[in-house]
Amino acid sequence: MELQTLFSLIVAFFVGGASAYLGSLMLTKRMALVGDALGHVALPGMGLALLFNINVFWGALIFLLLGIFLIWLIEMRTALPLETLVGIIFVVSLAIGFLIIPEPELIESLIGDISKVKILDVFLAISLSLIALYFIQKIYPNLLLANISKDLARSQNISIEKTNLIYLLTIAAIVATGIKIAGSLLIGTLLIVPAATAKNLAQSFKGYMKLSAFFGILGSFLGIIFSSLFNINPGPLIVLISSLFFLFSLFKKRI
């Protein structure tokens, strides 16, 4: 195996697994769109990073943190529907991204290219995924309870604000890393599709989270392998393969 493919597979394993694992929590809150939107929030940051010739990861991360903070503030301070606001932030970021990112890089920002990851990206992917996993593990019972019923969580003296902030920061870290694999347009896939697939099949929550991570890794692996075989961009392939799993899971659910 080529070293480059090995790099890609390592990144896919960590980022695909971690984002799908995190995504399983996102689905409990009907936050499917937030992952998508955040991918776009990263775009202007990536554009600026390209302009100043620094790793796009940092540009993406800074803008994601800003976006996250905005969403968190909006959710805590107002009664406005989250989905609407997220939708607006989403299109604004996309528009700014289109304006400042040079055309050749634009495609890469949108659909990513995991086949070009460098050794630094590999380390970044491994460390951020592990950190994210650590935090998810820590907040998961409280967050799940808050997602099920805010009243029940508050009656148990759980600080929903704090839990939510950690949760959103974790999403930011994963999205920033995942943009390299799938691109900003497709990062939502890694967060949502494996989780949706697992939800159709799982019989317990633990099983659901594990299955979600499994489908995240499997979809990313297969995407990379097929892309190196047929020499096409892996991002869209990962999306299509993951969605195919979802389609199969629907049949299982009916039975």
Binding site: R30, L144, L145, D151, L152, Q203, S204, G207
Partner: protein
């Protein structure tokens, strides 16, 4: 006394939901809050739990008293692949306590690993009660589901709550729109429709006049159950 409420007022989005509400609850009482749909019963429970902003005073004795809460319904939970045992883990309930409490609400071991979405509405309500009485609270706030549980089922749930209250020396605050529950189980009743329409022992304060005022035309339906 375990709870004292004075001049409670709750305003949500410029609308007065509750006002001028004063009452107290003694230890080991079954205190029933009765009122039609939309009277502010659930809002009252949430104010007592300090889950929303209010004016006036809500004092628990002691202030850090352990309160168990059984919410009306949890719409999202049925959609999740969460087992009964995993639900209890969210409150850090030990397996031993979970076993004991599920038994107390009449659910056998075979329910532990069942997904919550597959329970009937009655079974789910029992799970919520078992969850509410975990960590041995001194008070249980029980919000009655407005729909979805058949009457026969409801009666046994109230009987069960009464039994648990006796065994565990619990005080219960119970929200309902069902008059029969009041007559059978209440030590004191608070008739609520934004303000207190009546307050005291049910046999004494539940006059036809007050009930008409409380329920309006709806009360005719309730009379059939006598």
């Amino acid at each position: 006394m375990i709870l004292e409420v004075k001049n409670l007022k709750v305003v949500l989005g410029n609308k007065i939901i509750l006002e001028n509400l004063s009452f107290s609850v003694a230890e080991r009482e079954i205190f029933v809050i009765l009122g039609p749909n939309g009277a502010g019963k659930t809002v009252l429970l949430r104010a007592l739990l300090k889950l929303l902003p209010y004016e006036g005073s809500v004092q628990w004795f002691p202030p850090d008293i352990r309160i168990g809460y059984v919410p009306q319904r949890i719409p999202l939970i049925e959609d999740l692949p969460l087992t009964v045992a995993e639900f209890f883990q969210l409150k850090d309930v030990s397996e031993e306590e979970m076993l004991k409490n599920l038994k107390a609400v009449g659910l056998s071991e075979k329910f532990f690993h069942q997904p919550i979405g597959k329970l009937s509405s009655g079974q789910f309500q029992r799970v919520l009660i078992a969850y509410g009485i975990s960590h041995s609270p001194k008070v249980l706030l029980f919000d009655e589901p407005t729909a979805g549980i058949d009457l026969e089922g409801e009666e046994t749930v109230y009987k069960m709550l009464e039994k648990i209250a006796k065994e565990r020396k619990l005080t219960i605050l119970l929200v309902t729109h069902d008059l029969n529950v009041v007559y059978q189980y209440a030590t004191n009743v608070l008739c609520l429709n934004k303000k207190a329409v009546c307050y005291g022992p049910p046999k004494k304060v539940l006059t036809k006049e007050k009930l008409d005022k409380l329920f309006g035309n709806e009360v005719k339906i309730y009379h059939y159950y006598h």
